[in-house]
């Protein structure tokens, strides 16, 4: 068991970074904060795969690699299947005794953006969860296809403007509700499913450690504010994440064995969703008089969802 201490931030900072700088993610991108928090919470060997997305294209700019671990990329959608393939190969070689160091602890992690998790790689992810391999899938949810110019994905929330669902005189932007990926993954009877946020580093690191420790397929959805497509100043990434978790737009919770729901973070003062929406350029049009009903709808959805989470936590179903 080789898991590093996360008792406080000073002890956490004694870990040695395995995600190097000089990747080409935008300044202020939350993707690399999340990756660093995961890679610092363990010193086991890591085998990682990645779906195509911002993280993949920016950290493997030929002829450079940003990863100090085994990292593989094959196609857009198949991080989940390539990580399960690696996991099975590791198991078989361990059984046959062909590994040079069979006792070395190895963890398997797959990375995906929201496009490749919610839409394109969904079938591969669902298959891998169903087969029950021992891996962790981390979705970096920035609510659009940020890598290709901000098209809508099924993670895009109601009311936000994207390049394929633009707001204007005839539309208020995206009209469909966001897919509830955490509930879908919990319905696969996965042993550990969680939604985490990078501003709560301790909750996040604990969640990652729990997922890495758990035998079986684990899924983690993390909010990753995108300064380019959400249209805010790069320095405000953590502030926006604070607003997202405090306005309950992104509640932080975990589901164990598909039914045991725990809310991991309860904001002391729940903010109105206007504070979160108003901080970003992609929701600017909602503050016109004719779009007020959209904000009311978003607030109503959030309240209902939070209510549902609390009831589920109490009832343990």
């Amino acid at each position: 068991m080789a898991i590093t201490s996360i008792k406080n931030l000073k002890e956490f900072s004694t870990n040695n970074d395995r995600f190097e700088g000089a990747h080409t993610l935008c300044p202020g991108c939350a993707h690399s904060m999340i990756v660093r928090e995961l890679m610092n919470c363990t010193d086991d060997n890591l085998v990682m795969t990645a779906n195509t997305g911002c993280l993949e294209v920016s950290t493997a700019v030929y002829p450079f690699t940003t990863w100090d671990t085994s990292w593989m990329h094959i196609g857009f959608e198949n991080a989940a299947s390539s990580v399960t393939g690696s996991e099975v190969m590791h198991r078989v070689r361990k059984k046959k005794g062909t590994l040079p160091d069979p006792d070395a602890p190895v963890k398997f992690v797959a990375w995906g953006g929201d496009g490749s998790t919610f839409d394109i790689g969904f079938q591969w992810l669902s298959g891998a969860m169903e087969r029950g391999h021992n891996f962790v899938y981390v979705c970096l949810d920035n609510e659009n296809y940020a890598n290709t110019g901000g098209q809508r994905s099924s993670a895009t929330p109601i009311g936000s403007t994207t390049s394929t669902a633009p707001a204007g005189t005839h539309s208020y932007g995206e009209k469909q509700k966001k897919k509830d990926i955490v509930a879908i993954m919990a319905a696969h009877d996965a042993p550990y499913v969680a939604q985490l946020a990078p501003n709560k580093w301790k909750i996040m690191a604990k969640g990652f450690q729990k997922a890495l420790d758990t035998e079986g397929p684990c899924f983690i959805n993390t909010v990753s504010p995108c300064c380019t497509e959400w249209r805010f100043d790069p320095k405000d990434t953590i502030t926006i994440t604070d607003l997202a978790t405090d306005s309950l737009m992104f509640p932080v919770y975990e589901i164990i064995n598909g039914h045991e729901l725990n809310i991991l973070y309860r904001p002391k003062n729940v903010l109105k969703v206007e504070d979160y929406l108003g901080a970003q350029g992609r929701y600017k049009h909602l503050f016109k008089a004719e779009n007020k009903h959209v904000i009311d709808k978003i607030q109503k959805d959030i309240n209902e969802y939070w209510d549902m989470l609390q009831r589920r936590e109490e009832a343990r179903i």
Partner: protein, 152 residues
């Protein structure tokens, strides 16, 4: 001030990421390639500090993105309380911290996003953004005074 004598044989920031004319075109690149991050054996990397590792020239540690920066963060050791907020939220692994102490900023990998300044809890902040070409002495001499708390 910012002279970080951490690394004896430092090979960080040797290459520019945008490598110009000798890059291969899309039809000349080999399909499928392996880029080793380290020279030789990479066992136990997780327990080695960055200065002890033997990075290969494929590792982006040896590359630099310093040209992206417009504003740079300047670090004031006198005010810092080593809370490590900047370390945990730096997206570019550019805050160098050893043995629970913040040592400085890695200017080869910093893109100048300003997240570290935003999350700094001290009063006045121990990290502030200055123009890329201003000198450290100038920046430190312009440091603001401690703000008094407003009485309600």
């Amino acid at each position: 001030m910012q002279d970080l004598k951490l690394l004896a044989q430092d090979n960080r920031g040797l290459y520019q990421l945008e490598a110009g004319e000798d890059l291969l075109g899309w039809h000349e690149v080999t399909q499928g390639s392996i880029l080793p991050s380290f020279e030789g054996d990479a066992t136990g990397i997780a327990n080695m500090k960055q200065e002890e590792r033997n990075y290969s020239h494929y590792n982006s540690y040896t590359a630099t993105v310093a040209s992206w920066r417009v504003l740079k963060p300047v670090y004031n050791r006198d005010i810092c309380i080593d809370c490590q907020n900047c370390w945990v939220w730096c997206p570019d692994t550019s805050i160098i911290s050893r043995d629970k102490q913040m040592l400085g900023i890695d200017y080869d990998h910093c893109k100048g996003c300003g997240v570290c300044v935003e999350v700094c809890p001290t009063n006045p902040k121990s990290l502030l953004m200055f123009g890329e070409h201003s000198s450290f002495e100038d920046a430190l001499s312009q440091w603001p005074e401690k703000k008094k708390k407003e009485k309600k």
